[in-house]
Symmetry: C2
Subunit: 226 residues, 2 copies
């Protein structure tokens, strides 16, 4: 579903150079739920942003399906992402002037898609936000904002989802609802999910765990809860 | 150190009324490390903001030391907070135009305090940010930004600290460094820390755990790791 080959991302130069990604080669397979773990600052968000085409590499290549992202124009990249990739941001990136419902439906509005009402209802039910739809982000708790970000991506049902610490601000029960739902999306709808997490309980829901440290892949474990 | 009596916070009115806090009475004792847990949306951040004087109650009273916050003018409240209370925000609230060092020293600059250089060095060492001081928030990872927010409060060494999910975006090792440091601050310097967390491993560092649900205190447990 998605692949990186020799991916390198460097900030700054000379003595102050930071190698956020250092020659990373990794493949995420169709219909699999992969967790990505590693210390704070090890390159997880950078890897996700570059593989989703939200950020440019300094070196190496990234593919989504058969398409190498470096070959695309900005417009082609935006369209490809819009139609194929969902991204749940570590900092949520909600629109402050829109309420929860508008935030959740925004990607589908922008893409001109027909909204599947039954699916929308199921998603907001699963994330526990049914009674919060009319509220703006600043009228929601931290965890409620995180759940709006999660719902926004799940509602659009993209084939490939990058989730950057989707349960970091949730109590274990709310978090489990979302993780169960994601695992179901992979099993029943064949979606591919790549999830960054610091929580080993969350990683246990995945089929595989990839570990980063200092911008490199240092371990790759199948079936972590086996 | 801090106390709430019949604290109530209501948003909206009539059918759409939300009781974020519902008649909460609780006392946090000097020199103790208390964890506050509960489901997403249960009122934890609201309780912390009201007890720190960052938000007004709809009913009831809150005290810091001998002072009932409702009696203070805005100016007196700001001064009291500046000199006595530290707050680590769930969303960090860093200044985007200042680098890490400037963000960390900002409260002390505003208060006109003398900066204890040895303490500053120890704090940034403990949170693992020594090589990140010149970076602005948008040049830092999510967890690094969280650590800047933590360092900002710890560097000023206030007697009373409210920490709203200070390790939510950190791997377990970075998180433990900070929790160890906080527990030391309580044991060695007599500081009082009230920490909201969703992580029971983090709560295990505390002397006491208070549980909220639907804006009420539902449990209060001493020595949770005993
Ligand atoms: N301005 C507002 N208008 C309406 N409701 C609000 C407003 N601010 C907060 N709330 C509601 O008050 C309740 C408590 O919010 P609070 O932020 O204290 O929860 P929390 O326990 O910190 O949750 P989390 O663990 O998700 O951070 C939530 O249901 C939230 O939606
Ligand atoms: N614009 C930038 N300039 C300089 N360094 C940067 C910039 N953006 C990110 N970095 C650095 O790149 C490294 C990797 O960042 P990244 O956000 O990928 O980490 P992460 O693994 O997601 O961490 P966390 O778990 O804290 O979210 C970090 O050390 C960070 O400071
Ligand atoms: Mg990150
Ligand atoms: Mg909160």
């Amino acid at each position: 579903a998605a692949m990186a080959k020799g991916a390198t991302k460097v900030y700054g130069q000379g003595d102050t150079e930071i190698r956020a990604l250092d020659d990373v080669s990794i493949e995420f397979y169709d219909g699999q739920f992969t967790a990505v773990m590693g210390p704070s600052g090890s390159g997880k968000s950078t890897l996700m942003h570059c593989m989703a085409g939200l950020d440019e590499l300094t070196g190496g290549e990234v593919w989504i399906g058969e398409t190498e992202l470096g070959q695309l124009s900005r417009r082609e990249l935006t369209l490809m992402r819009r139609d194929n990739v969902g991204f749940i941001f570590q900092a949520y990136n909600l629109v402050p002037t829109l309420n929860a419902k508008e935030n959740i439906l925004l990607p589908q509005m922008l893409a001109g898609s027909d909204v599947d009402d039954a699916w929308f209802d199921e998603v907001i039910e699963k994330v526990g936000l049914a009674d919060r739809m009319a509220h703006k982000p600043n009228e929601l708790s931290g965890g409620q904002q995180q759940r709006v970000a999660v719902a926004r991506t799940l509602a659009a049902r993209p084939l490939l989802i990058f989730a950057d610490e989707p349960t970091g601000n949730l109590d274990s029960r709310s978090g489990q609802e979302i993780l169960d739902f994601m695992r179901r999306a992979v099993r029943e709808y064949g979606q591919t999910i790549v999830m960054v997490t610091h929580d080993s309980n969350a990683a246990a829901y995945a089929d595989r765990v990839v570990f980063l440290a200092d911008g490199k892949v240092v371990a790759d474990v199948a079936d972590p809860s086996a």
